[in-house]
């Protein structure tokens, strides 16, 4: 089977490595940060290239990667669709004269060809795409595939010098968001809509989310109303999420919102309006006052602390 190269210079994506391992039948090459060799080994990587840091000049990084990939002879190149990799991969694709498909949610091999499936226009259209270039490239939505650990493959570990510092882009500071995990990596998401009614209501949701180690999300109208910051927005103009459990609180269920969360494994909807469209797209619907339910859950959580 063809070798697959997975680029994870900002942290190992176990699900993607597992998928690539399966598609390449164990013929897996990865690039990771120094210190993550064992994690990569655990997912069956055969060749593990390491770099010490990732440079802020992503154009220079892409240039360095292009040269490396040519020397490795890789013809299938995958990366998690993180914010940084979604900037680096297009630059890399241009340099390698390769077709690139964004944010795939399914991958398959058809002989030598990588079949790339991705949603478009929210999640309402699914397109199956093939590359016409020698090198086939795709980014894959984080959290799409389940990580499967493999027996050690006795990999070859190859430390790389990494790209030279250009000084053209410098990181001056980094301010971490309060509230832990990014939405795209959360197993549980609590999302609020207009039905939550106020900023104070959202604070309650945030409190429960922090107790549960869950992510806090919001519908566009709730963001527009100032209840939650834009980075919480799930939907066509916000982020797309696929957690194991999505709890929609006071969200009516506009098409644009559904597009951002319909990939969730299990959906719970809490809404006082029994006719809210969200109930059609939920595995479990609860009709009634959201605050009663959230208060009880908060109470139970605080009791167990």
């Amino acid at each position: 089977m063809k070798e697959i190269l997975v680029l994870c210079p900002h942290g190992v994506d176990g699900g993607l490595l597992s998928k690539a391992y399966a598609l390449s039948e164990g013929n897996l090459r990865v690039l990771v940060l120094e210190g993550e060799e064992q994690t990569a080994e655990g997912y069956g990587a055969k060749y593990i290239h390491t770099i010490k840091t990732t440079p802020p000049d992503e154009a220079a990084f892409a240039g360095w990667l292009a040269e490396k990939i040519q020397s490795w002879g890789s013809t299938i190149v995958l990366a998690p669709a993180t914010i940084a990799m979604r900037n680096i991969m297009p630059m890399l694709a241009w340099k390698l004269n390769a077709g690139l498909t964004a944010d795939c949610t399914a991958l398959d091999m058809a002989g030598e060809d990588l079949l790339q499936t991705r949603p478009a226009f929210g999640n309402s259209l699914m397109a199956s795409i093939r590359s016409l270039s020698t090198i086939q490239m795709a980014t894959v939505r984080p959290g799409t595939f389940r990580p499967v650990e493999q027996k050690a493959n006795e990999p070859e570990i190859i430390p790389e010098s990494g790209p030279a510092e250009t000084g053209k882009v410098r990181e001056l500071s980094f301010t971490e968001f309060a509230g832990g995990k990014p939405l795209s990596q959360a197993d549980v998401i609590i999302a609020g809509g207009m039905g939550v009614g106020s900023k104070e209501g959202f604070e309650k949701l945030a409190k429960l989310a922090s107790h549960l180690g869950a992510g806090l999300a919001a519908s566009r109208s709730a963001v527009d109303a100032g209840y939650a910051p834009f980075r919480c927005q799930v939907g066509v103009t916000g982020v797309t999420v696929c957690p194991r459990l999505y709890i929609a609180v006071g969200i009516s269920g506009a098409v644009q919102h559904l597009a951002g969360m319909s990939g969730s494994e299990k959906v719970i909807a809490i809404n006082s309006d029994p006719k809210a469209p969200i109930f059609g797209y939920a595995d479990y619907g609860y009709v009634g006052d959201w605050e009663t339910i959230i208060d009880r859950l908060l109470h139970l959580e605080e009791e167990t602390l």
Binding site: R86, M89, A93, A120, A127, L132, V169, L212, I268, L297
Partner: protein
């Protein structure tokens, strides 16, 4: 800037298929952010050029952007460019940027709400061999270049970049101003510049579907799957059930 189907007009038919005929177009929200950022950055003598690629009917919409303060408007329009993937799009934009330039900065939206690939800014930057900073929510000029605030998954990165660059802006970072009386008056005397593949010296093989390196094999409508789970009105039961489901997924 890209014109996309207006999100509010997205409708589905009885079989949950997306209806696309007759949808009206609007400027992509993140691209409006980019234009407003450009208008704020320009000094008295700066020039903001709006560049788009699409059907000839976009001329009127571009006129409106002139009224909102852009100095020049350029439309790449050519039937041969239909069906372009992100690479063919970047190739056309590169040629147009070089033809209409020189420029100090290229601003664009971080992704369009229809295709959602977000790949054109990076491919364009690589084509022009300049820097690219993505997902920016605020930017300002400094003595040596630009200071950029980039939103990542878990925080905001403050970057400084020197030299020509492509910046892709987040949605709602800046709200595009309304047309002003002065700029409306100025816009009246301006025309939208039209560029075809020939003007850009692009061969047919470099345009549209033929110039693309990816090919869509099948396209299926997939409306968010109806789940239609049971509805419960007993809120004590609700709490119990939710707790049980939380226990299942929490490590």
């Amino acid at each position: 800037m890209k014109a996309v189907p207006a999100a509010s007009t997205v409708e589905v038919d009885g079989e949950y298929r997306l209806k696309r005929e007759g949808t009206s177009l609007q400027w992509n929200i993140a691209d409006e952010s980019a234009l407003e950022a450009a208008l704020r950055l320009k000094d008295g003598d700066g020039i903001v050029t709006v560049l788009t690629m699409g059907p000839a009917k976009l001329e009127a919409a571009l006129k409106e952007l002139l009224a909102r303060g852009a100095d020049r408007a350029v439309l790449i329009t050519d039937r041969r460019m239909a069906g372009a993937d992100t690479r063919a799009t970047a190739a056309a934009l590169k040629a147009a940027a070089e033809k209409t330039g020189p420029f100090d900065l290229i601003l664009c939206g971080r992704r369009a709400i229809d295709g959602e690939t977000g790949q054109v800014p990076g491919e364009l930057a690589a084509a022009l061999d300049i820097l690219c900073v993505s997902n920016v929510e605020r930017l300002e000029k400094t003595e040596t270049g630009m200071r950029l605030f980039r939103r990542t998954e878990n925080g905001v990165q403050e970057l400084e970049a020197a030299g020509p660059l492509v910046v892709s802006m987040c949605e709602y970072a800046y709200h595009l101003r309304l047309p002003g009386i002065l700029s409306m008056r100025r816009a009246k005397s301006k025309t939208v510049e039209i560029l075809t593949a020939d003007d850009l010296e692009l061969k047919t093989g470099e345009c549209g579907l033929k110039g693309s390196l990816t090919k869509v094999i099948t396209m299926e409508a997939k409306y968010p799957g109806l789940r239609k789970g049971p509805k419960e009105t007993d809120l004590s039961k609700a709490t119990e059930q939710i707790q049980a489901m939380l226990r299942e997924v929490r490590p």
